[in-house]
């Protein structure tokens, strides 16, 4: 009896088995890959440490300076953004993780076995995007939450205004910040798919996410204003602010701009990935 079952089990795995490969299988494969990529652990732990550390530093320094601020500056003081500022580097880290999901395959040339096991390219890239969001969204929410808690507690320790989790803007900042970081991951995935090189992807991420942001105020008048308002990572970053600059987009609209930009880039990535010789 047992041997008959064994036999049937064996033959079920043989060449006669015509089990179809489904998108679920591909998703499972990509999940195994992302969790066995060493960079994933580094990115998650590094981001967490950085966001918590920066929230503590910003919280204590902003808290101690608060009392010396002018009344106007005190009114514009933003405890939420102060604690979530770590997103500036976290977006690069998660963008890099998104990029690595595909550029590591080109770097190690595993794209060949990947595509000879699942030649359905849209399925491959879609699976990568889904598992990436599956990692980046919880990580993004977690680092925002940790940043928020650490930052608010140091602010409160310094006697500056601070928020509690029960405040509406707090949840918007934490979850919105998480969504923004997941979008940054997808942004990296799209870039990596198009560029195929890890180094070039990282360089581009720094340029797009940090350098433009740093130089926007230096750009001539109209252009500078436009970039500061609509450049997707700057617009998307509004999601972590509790006190809005009237010159800039509202948090929701800003996140929408970032999402739109990611959608366009991802579409381009799908088209390129499907058409190009591997």
């Amino acid at each position: 009896m047992i041997s008959a079952l064994e036999h049937r089990k064996k033959s079920a795995q043989g060449p006669a088995d015509t089990g179809r490969a489904t998108p679920w299988h591909s998703l499972h494969a990509e999940w195994i890959k992302i969790r066995t990529m060493r960079s994933t652990v580094f990115v998650v732990l590094g981001t967490l440490a950085f966001c918590a550390g920066l929230a503590a530093l910003n919280g204590s320094s902003a808290g101690s300076e608060y009392a010396d601020l002018s009344p106007a500056d005190q009114a514009a003081f933003d405890p939420l953004a102060t604690s979530l500022r770590g997103y500036l580097l976290a977006q690069i880290a998660l963008g890099l993780l998104g990029g690595l999901v595909i550029t590591s395959e080109y770097g190690a040339r595993t794209i060949v076995p990947t595509l000879t096991s699942v030649p359905h390219r849209v399925r491959v890239l879609a699976s990568k995007a889904v598992v990436l969001v599956g990692v980046a969204l919880p990580v993004g929410v977690l680092v925002s939450l940790v940043g928020f808690l650490v930052g608010q507690s140091t602010l409160s320790g310094a006697g500056a205004p601070h928020l509690a989790l029960s405040d509406g803007v707090a949840l918007r900042g934490i979850f919105g910040g998480g969504v923004y970081l997941a979008l940054a991951g997808l942004f990296g995935l799209a870039l990596g798919t198009i560029i195929r090189s890890t180094t070039a992807t990282v360089t581009t991420l720094f340029g797009v996410m940090l350098i433009v942001q740093a130089f926007a105020p230096a750009l001539p008048g109209g252009l500078g204003d436009w970039v500061s308002k609509y450049w997707p990572p700057i617009a998307g970053g509004q999601i972590i602010t509790a006190v809005q600059d009237p010159e800039l987009l509202r948090p929701g609209a800003g996140l929408g701009v970032m999402a739109g930009c990611v959608l366009v880039l991802l579409t381009a990535a799908f088209v390129v990935f499907r058409r190009r010789d591997a």
Binding site: Q13, R38, T110, P113
Partner: protein, 304 residues
Amino acid sequence: MIEVRGLTKRYGEVLAVDDLTFAVRPGEVTGFLGPNGAGKSTTLRMILGLDAPSSGTATVGGMSFTAQPAPLRAVGALLDPGAVLPSRSAFHHLLALAAGNGIPRSRVDETLAEVGLEKVARRRAGTYSLGMRQRLGIAAALLGRPPVLVFDEPLNGLDPEGIVWIRSLMRNMAAEGRAVLMSSHLMSEMELTADHLIVIGRGKLIADTTMKDFIEAHSEREVLVRSPQTQALRRLLSEAGDVRAEDHDTLVVTGLEAARIGALAAAGGVELHELSPRQVSLERAFMELTQDAVEYQAGKETNR
């Protein structure tokens, strides 16, 4: 069974693969032979859906590779033995590939044992030797027990033990009724492995023949004869074939079968000490066959 019809790949002005048509049949090892740069890898990549043909088709079991319901169960491929993330273990590398086709975990362990990697399966692949990577690549090809196997230069850079292993593996796979396609740029690698031969040069088909026919058509067969009476033997044989002396007691005969030489010697009462047929190197035949293609390629490159 792999069927390639009118397959063409053009990169700008250059025709990398030029109107190839051939079939790879089950139960045989088909050698895919050509000088470096002849278009072998490009052809294999088109068969596997990695590169899109400019025109023509390639099918596996009557279906294009990209349309296969479970690709790993249809074709096993080894294109690049180095293709593994250095920080990932062999086990996880295979597990991810297997998962993509719904192949169970037990089959991954089984395949690792088949290729002799079970002891190092949990180690980072970056620490593997070339031979171990090659075995890992073979394991990936065998995961789905496919009826068709495609190996690109599988013997490159292997030590003699590895060469023997892959050779017997390919022979066994063919004996089990699978279609095996193996590329190489060395005739000597084919001679001992392939049943059928497809030769290309400059992207064009040069020969599509059984190994036996190729050997017969392209190698002069010689028979080495040793005898203490070379003078008498020479007189007997030179009427029927070409005879030249190789040593004081050795003659080399072309154009006569060994059996016929023995019969002639016996009839003439000549004593023989050795009578052995031998082959002129097939490597030479292959080189002559593809010489034009190689020359053209070299010329092309200097023009750039």
